[in-house]
């Protein structure tokens, strides 16, 4: 069974004619329907006519929203794909000084919420900030006498969102490169001419599903980003959704805008899947007996590689973190208080439980889909994993509305028996974890699904012929092989939850503050200096899972 590469068309179908257990379908449907309910609620808003509001939007602001969102999407998509893939390939396949350090350092920008990055950069680059002040004093210039690029612009937003989101691509692309078979690469190097050709013709196409999954995450995050674009005054589809809701008080019309955004993302993903269908992908390298041999680079190339990998880390993490530290230390009001400790504890609790829940559900959905790949199962799993593309507040309010309805039904049911427990779900920690699940299942599902796709379907057949049922196969074959992917999924969700804001704000119980809430309270009131302490703590707490899990992922890959 060593190093076999049966070439099959992806996605593979389970052999026909076998009795299929209905259990997985049932579990998939139950879970997916519950998780998808708030998303379906958003989509359902499309059936409530809002003609007049739409006419107004179409005549005035909608074209601008569309153009800006499109430019933002294109810029961030190209930027994250380029940086994420290039850095992942360099640190995985090449040998140059600093490679080991950079391998995990490249993940660090994940710890920064994009809007905090925006605040820090604006603060540093503004007129009174350190850079411009130094420029003025050293060249004897005064206001208006020199040109300085404005970070608060569409271009600035693209730059910062690329820095914040390229780790999604990096993480998934790296695990794809790591799992590529050495023998295949060796063969490709013989057949092609050198590392570059081998990268272009073999590694890249093989890693494409993973790269696209990463880019999809980055794009969904971009399209639902509100904090950065709002602060920069870039009018996008998402700022339009909030404006329609908060400004005009048209919640249903806002939900409709969000629903169209969702339809757009669904179409984009379907298109990508379709184009991938024509690729011949090898499935399931079982083992890699020899350790990966990295290409040694000539000094000049090594320097280039080092610069290419270090730049995103410096710009996306080191410099802003230093600036934040300087601000926090200079701010007399900040000291690590007991309250901050409580916030950190709440953040960790929510992150841990939420990550576990998301990984569990993602495994059920992805494996259920693998065992019984009917069209309905695939579609439902996909919709359930779409929460990422909906702006946070919209999905959070959908969750709140769903809980309110359910609580009312429960109380009505219990009333004849004298049981009126009041609110069970609304405003509970369980409710909050559910909201995270709805919002972040996307990233967990993506990681688990791409991991499962790399497992050879022949293994399923082998397990079956040995008399193992689907659950036993999952435990004995898939989960052990998926270890790295599961950890990746947990890491993605954990880091997202620590940074999450809208759902945390509106679904949480009384007196339940997290680090992100704390920073938001100060930043929303333009007290950025006072927010720096809390912001730094978010980054530090976010670092915890990044370092622990990334080393665990590396360890698990090494053993595979």
């Amino acid at each position: 069974m060593r190093n076999s590469f049966p070439l099959t068309r992806a996605p593979a179908r389970a052999p026909a004619g076998r009795a299929r257990p209905v259990g997985w379908s049932l579990a998939l449907w139950l879970i997916a329907l519950v998780v998808a309910a708030p998303i379906l609620l958003v989509l359902g808003s499309l059936f409530v006519p809002q003609g007049e509001t739409w006419r107004h939007l179409a005549e005035t602001v909608l074209p601008r929203y569309l153009v800006n969102s499109l430019l933002l999407t294109l810029g961030v998509g190209a930027g994250t794909a380029l940086i994420g893939t290039a850095t992942a390939w360099l640190v995985t396949m090449c040998r140059f000084p600093g490679r080991r350090l950079l391998e995990w350092a490249l993940l660090l920008p994940m710890a920064f919420p994009a809007y905090i990055l925006a605040y820090v950069y604006t603060d540093a680059l503004q007129y009174a900030g350190p850079l411009q002040s130094a420029l003025r004093s050293s060249f004897g210039l005064s206001a208006g006498e020199y040109f300085f690029p404005d970070i608060r612009s569409l271009g600035g937003a693209v730059l910062l969102l690329v820095l914040a989101f390229y780790p999604y691509v990096y993480l998934l692309a790296r695990s794809a490169f790591l799992s590529q078979s050495l023998s295949l690469l060796e063969a490709s190097i013989c057949l092609c001419s050198g590392p570059w050709e081998s990268f272009r013709r073999v590694s890249l196409p093989l890693a494409r599903p993973a790269i696209m999954a990463g880019v999809a995450l980055a794009l969904m995050e971009t399209l639902s980003d509100f904090g950065t674009v709002e602060y920069f005054g870039v009018q996008t589809f998402t700022t339009g959704i909030y404006r329609t809701w908060f400004g005009m008080g048209e919640r249903v019309a806002a939900a409709q805008l969000a629903a169209w955004l969702l339809v757009f993302v669904l179409a984009l993903l379907a298109l990508e899947r379709r184009s991938r269908r024509t690729l011949l992908l090898p499935r399931g390298e079982l083992s890699r007996l020899k350790p990966l041999r990295r290409y040694p680079l000539a000094p000049a190339s090594a320097l280039l590689a080092l610069a290419a990998c270090a730049t995103p880390v410096l710009l996306g993490f080191v410099l802003p973190a230093l600036r934040l530290t300087a601000l926090a230390l200079g701010n007399a009001d900040w000291s690590p208080s007991a309250a901050l400790w409580t916030y950190a504890r709440h953040s960790l609790l929510l992150g841990g439980v939420g990550a576990l829940a998301a990984v569990l559900v993602a495994v059920v959905l992805a494996y259920g889909r693998r065992v019984e790949p009917s069209f309905a199962n695939r579609a439902l799993a996909r919709i359930a994993a779409m929460g990422y593309a909906v702006p946070g507040s919209v999905i959070a309010v959908s969750v709140v509305i769903g809980f309110g309805w359910l609580d009312a039904r429960l109380n009505a049911l219990g009333a004849p028996l004298g049981l009126t427990p009041g609110l069970l779900l609304s405003g509970s920690v369980a409710g909050l974890v559910f909201a995270y699940l709805v919002r972040f299942l996307t990233s967990a599902y993506g990681a688990v699904e791409t991991g499962l796709e790399r497992i050879n379907p022949n293994l399923d057949d082998a397990g079956r012929s040995l008399g193992h049922r689907s659950l036993s196969r999952l435990g004995r074959i898939h989960l052990p092989l998926l270890r790295g992917s599961l950890l990746t999924a947990a890491l993605l969700v954990f880091a997202d939850i620590i940074k999450e804001l809208p759902a945390t704000l509106i679904v949480r119980p009384f007196n339940f503050d997290t680090l992100a809430v704390r920073v938001y309270r100060l930043a929303s009131d333009e007290r950025l200096l006072e927010a720096s302490g809390g912001a730094l703590l978010i980054v530090l707490v976010g670092l915890l899972p990044v370092t622990v899990l990334s080393s665990a992922i590396a360890a698990s890959r090494r053993r595979e």
């Binding site: 005035t60 602001v61 503004q126 009174a128 900030g129 005064s142 206001a143 404005d150 608060r152 709002e230 602060y231 920069f232 005054g233 404006r243 809701w245 908060f246 400004g247 005009m248 048209e250 919640r251 701010n331 504890r345 960790l348 609790l349 929510l350 841990g352 439980v353 507040s393 309010v397 709140v400 509305i401 809980f403 309110g404 309805w405 609580d407 109380n411 009041g422 609304s426 405003g427 270890r483 790295g484 599961l486 950890l487 809208p502 704000l505 509106i506 949480r508 119980p509 009384f510 809430v517 938001y520 309270r521 929303s524 009131d525 333009e526 200096l529 899972p545 665990a552 360890a555 053993r559």
Partner: protein, 354 residues
Amino acid sequence: MTRFLALRSAACLLACALALGFPFALAQDATRGVVNVYSARHYDSDAALFGAFTEATGIAVNLIEAEADELIERIRSEGANSPADLIITVDAGRLWRAQEAGLLEAVDSAALEAAIPASLRHPEGLWFGLAKRARVIVYDREKVDAGELSSYLDLADPKWQGRICIRSSSNVYNQSLLAAMIAHYGAAEAEAWAQGLVNNLARAPQGGDTDQIKAVVAGECDLAVVNDYYLARLLADAASGDPQDPASAEVAERIGLFFPNQDAEGVHVNISGAALVAGAPNRENAVALLEYLATPAAQALFAEGSYEYPVVAGAEADPIVTGFGAFEEDALNLSALGENSAEAVRIMDRVGWP
């Protein structure tokens, strides 16, 4: 043995998270009396104030903070089961929206009616203003003479072309300002004014009110329209002896403050306000908290932390804010802000105010 190292470290992480978070579950005991507050105000001074209330009355304050519109949706969806007693917002328009949704209940309190001026509360007691702020003009004293400034309407005059900074129209402060102008002059004139203002902008709107003040200092524009407390905060920083913000010293040196409309309707004010939620489970405690917040002592604290003006006679604002001087304020009942805010946003969309 190392086979499960990765899974074990993940399990460890999870266990740590659970262990750290667990004490929360035990800490949720209830005091006898509580009042549940849904607040859109985010000041530490508020938390201190609620603490003082608990100390004085024994009534514990439970708090959820979020955006006003989200809080309104949550109260609406929780329906009859909602634990919400009080809702606090930083804008009269949002209180009006809660009122329109039928979520509020009138409070009949002689103490509140005596303490709070009529224009700052709902005529039937559906909501009460607790602190107010003025939307003023700040200007570069080197480039603008205060004598050139007069009213908001004047900002549409071509003489200000390329000289004005104002933040995005997505912000509720601008929406409320335009809503007030619709109430005074009608939608057509308000739209013409908004168009003139947009034509005079020095740059595309970006950042918050603080950033507009800094843009005046940076020479990007000659004047800006902002809420007065943002200037007060920068001045307080400059006066602290150890300024945290590198821009604040220059702001103190160069920026002047002008209260517009003194010869007309008066300067536009908005409120931080509170309202009783219909069907509040702790109605009496909620009214007690409302009345407490309208006492002069509480008022001083409530307004001081945010550099706002207290609404109750006898309570003093922060010395920096009183230093701005006295002014005539718009007597328009603030219900008008809510009634006209959707129209204001449509006008802003039409005139291309980003």
